[in-house]
Amino acid sequence: MPVLIKHRRLAESSPPPDLVLEPTDDPALVAASLGQARVVAVRFPKFGDGRGFSLARLLRERYGYKGELRAIGAVGRDHLRSMAQCGFDAFELRAGEDPQEALAGFGDFSESYQSSTAQPLPLFRRRAA
């Protein structure tokens, strides 16, 4: 059983995804069915393939998906923070990752410059406030 992190904790179990998006999939085409989905997974086929980051933001920000968004595939400690910023809230760790160490990955940075799903206001709008 792969290790699953949900809401920044190790999760006991979670239902299988209702929908799995590959990096080449167009989120617009599944937009209509997102309302019924409880779990949507986005696959990262390789460590260096970043298409899923854009798909996640589109699912969340453009198509309003509110359920669990799970990153699957080549998901490692060094990706977790960026994935969380792009709207993922569940992470199926690849084999060989130390789950406790991986959890620390969320804390690699305490701030981000950009607008993202998790923090729509970029730093400059918060700096100014």
């Binding site: 460590f47 260096g48 393939d49 970043g50 298409r51 980051f53 854009s54 798909l55 933001r57 453009r62 490692g76 060094d78 923070r81 960026s82 994935m83 910023q85 792009c86 060989g96 130390d98 690699d108 940075f109 305490s110 701030e111 981000s112 410059y113 950009q114 607008s115 993202s116 729509p120 206001l121 970029p122 730093l123 400059f124 709008r125 700096r127 100014a128």
Partner: protein, 559 residues
């Protein structure tokens, strides 16, 4: 200089801690070679032919004397007491130890330097005009916009694993001095009829093995929309750029395969969703970033007219001193192109002395140019002679800016594991062949660029003469192009079959002979002649059999 606030500093410090941990996991065997590669590259660390290479970011080429002293110190303690300034305005150390790199990064962070995203498939160090802020033809100070882009690109969560590297250049003046047409994105500041500031957006240019001049996809992007528009371009590229073939993964291939119009339509459609969103820039933010830059406190001075007495000082002033928007001041190029020294190399000792000169003559700041020289941007004209004497004693006053011996060259096969051929010895052999200063000045403006492989780090496609190292059955050969130009961007054409290394200086000499014989006047530059008469006369001369050899060069030079 942009001065970090507490948050900027914290980000860089946290990056050091992150990389320290990644290195620890790699050395403990808990990160694979491949995964660590993707992580170390985005911290500027390559594993090279003989040793690791660390590429330190000099954001948009702007450097303080304090930072240069730190670089000197790091090169001395962790390397062999020299560094190499690259064509992307960065500094490369060729001999650090892998396990020392986290400590080097920690030391860099103490002077607000880092190696973030100097390599890897992410947005790289943004580059700009080395005369930004002092140029007479300035529209905006591009440093401010570069810093805004630096912050937008730093650890950008969506765009950290792009199909390939991504290079952005920002030009803030009327003349394009940073080759915006041959970058993944080129931004050229413009004013519209209402006098509002915006950017012309150019996409899909690049050198490398498929050199392409970029396409303008928007003539005027109001400045407020800069970051949302970049988001739109990067999102289209991140989703649809090719990932199946390393050589087709740059955005230029996507733009070419889609066609610039269709690509632009996709970007505009994406942007329609992002426009006016929270990432829209505010006047307050631009003013905040602007206010964090140190600004020289100019004195009110009159311009000085130096008498044009022929001699070394005049020659230097003619080539290495540049006009300044402030009367009484000048910008000065510090030539790192002395014959016998690899282009762009500086020793730790020189770095320290240059830092002293920056403090004494130029408000403690300097710039790195894409031609691998340094610039002291704010020198009092009255002090030019004193500065020249000091530079001369350091071997940094070669009066060759814009001339044939100001060769741009990648590190090549002496260091780089990608290279097909060496470039530094070729540069040196050419410099030696053209060591006669009068002859060099008579030839006039000429950009000669050398790359050791088709990745084109030496920008050979946009040299007036471009030399490319190629591999033929395990041997080093050199292909020669002519007619390239940086601004306006134009790509050179190959003159014919390639040459052995020893033949290259002779080939360059033949090209120059042809030029001197064909030019209308000494106002017509080499590249102008190539564009006027085409390649044929040059080819004929270069590939002529010995019994048809042309007259020796001195006669032609005198003619």
């Amino acid at each position: 200089m942009y001065r970090y606030d507490a948050i900027d500093q914290r980000m860089v410090d946290e990056r050091v801690a992150q990389f320290r941990d990644q290195t620890r996991r790699f050395l403990a065997g808990r990160l694979s070679e491949d995964d660590f590669k993707a992580l170390r590259l985005r911290n500027g660390l390559y594993i090279q032919r003989y040793a690791p290479m660390l590429r330190i970011a000099i954001p948009y080429g702007l450097l303080s004397s304090r930072q240069l002293r730190k670089l000197s110190d790091i090169a001395r303690r962790y390397d062999r007491a020299y560094g190499h300034f690259s064509t992307r305005q960065n500094l490369q150390l060729n001999w650090p130890k892998l396990e020392d790199v986290p400590e080097i990064l920690a030391e860099l962070a103490t002077v607000q330097l880092h190696a973030i995203q100097t390599s890897g498939n992410c947005v790289r160090n943004v580059t700009t005009d080395h005369f930004a802020g002092v140029a007479k033809d300035e529209i905006v100070d591009s440093h401010v916009w570069c810093e805004l882009i630096r912050q937008w690109s730093t650890f950008n969560p969506e765009f950290s694993y792009l199909p390939r590297k991504f290079k952005i250049a920002v030009n803030g003046a009327a003349a394009d001095r940073c080759a915006t047409l041959v970058h993944d994105i080129g931004l050229h500041a413009v004013k519209n009829s209402e006098n509002e500031i915006g950017f012309r957006v150019i996409v899909g240019g690049g050198l490398g093995r498929t050199p392409i001049v970029g396409h303008v996809i928007r003539e005027f992007l109001p400045w407020r929309h800069l970051l949302t528009y970049l988001d739109a371009i990067l999102r289209v590229y991140n989703r649809f750029g090719r990932r199946d073939n390393l050589w087709k993964a740059r955005i230029k291939i996507l733009v070419k395969e889609r066609g610039p119009e269709k690509f632009r339509d996709e970007v505009e459609a994406e942007w329609a969703h992002l426009k006016e969103g929270p990432a829209t820039l505010t006047a307050e933010e631009v003013a905040r970033v602007e206010s964090r830059f140190t600004r020289p406190q100019y004195e009110t001075l009159a311009d000085i007219r130096y008498p044009g007495i022929p001699g070394p000082f005049t020659a230097w002033r003619k080539r290495n001193v540049h006009p300044h928007k402030q009367s009484g001041y000048a910008a000065v190029s510090v030539s790192l192109k002395k014959t016998g020294v690899p282009p762009g190399d500086v020793t730790s000792e020189q770095m320290e002395r240059i830092a002293d000169l920056a403090d004494h003559y130029s408000f403690g700041e300097l710039r790195v140019t894409h031609e691998q020289n340094l610039v002291l941007a704010d020198v009092r004209q009255a002090e030019l002679h004193g500065l020249w004497q000091e530079l001369r004693s350091l071997g940094l006053a070669t009066p060759n800016i814009g001339l044939l011996t100001n060769i741009i060259s990648c590190p090549g096969g002496d260091f780089c594991s990608l290279a097909n051929a060496k470039s530094i010895p070729v540069a040196e052999a050419i410099q030696r062949r053209f060591d006669d200063l009068d002859y060099l000045h008579d030839i006039g403006e000429l950009d000669l660029n050398i790359s050791g492989c088709m990745n084109a780090c030496g920008h050979h496609h946009v040299g007036h003469i471009g030399i490319l190292g190629v591999d033929k059955n395990g041997e080093e050969w050199y292909q020669v192009e002519i007619g390239g130009n940086q601004s306006p961007a134009r790509l050179g054409k190959v003159i014919g079959p390639s040459f052995a290394r020893a033949e290259v200086p002779g080939v360059i000499e033949k090209l120059i002979e042809t030029y001197l014989a064909e030019r209308d006047s000494d106002a017509e530059r080499f590249v102008d002649v190539v564009h006027r008469i085409g390649l044929e006369p040059f080819k004929r001369n270069v590939y002529a059999r010995p019994d048809q050899a042309p007259a020796p060069r001195r006669e032609l030079a005198a003619a």
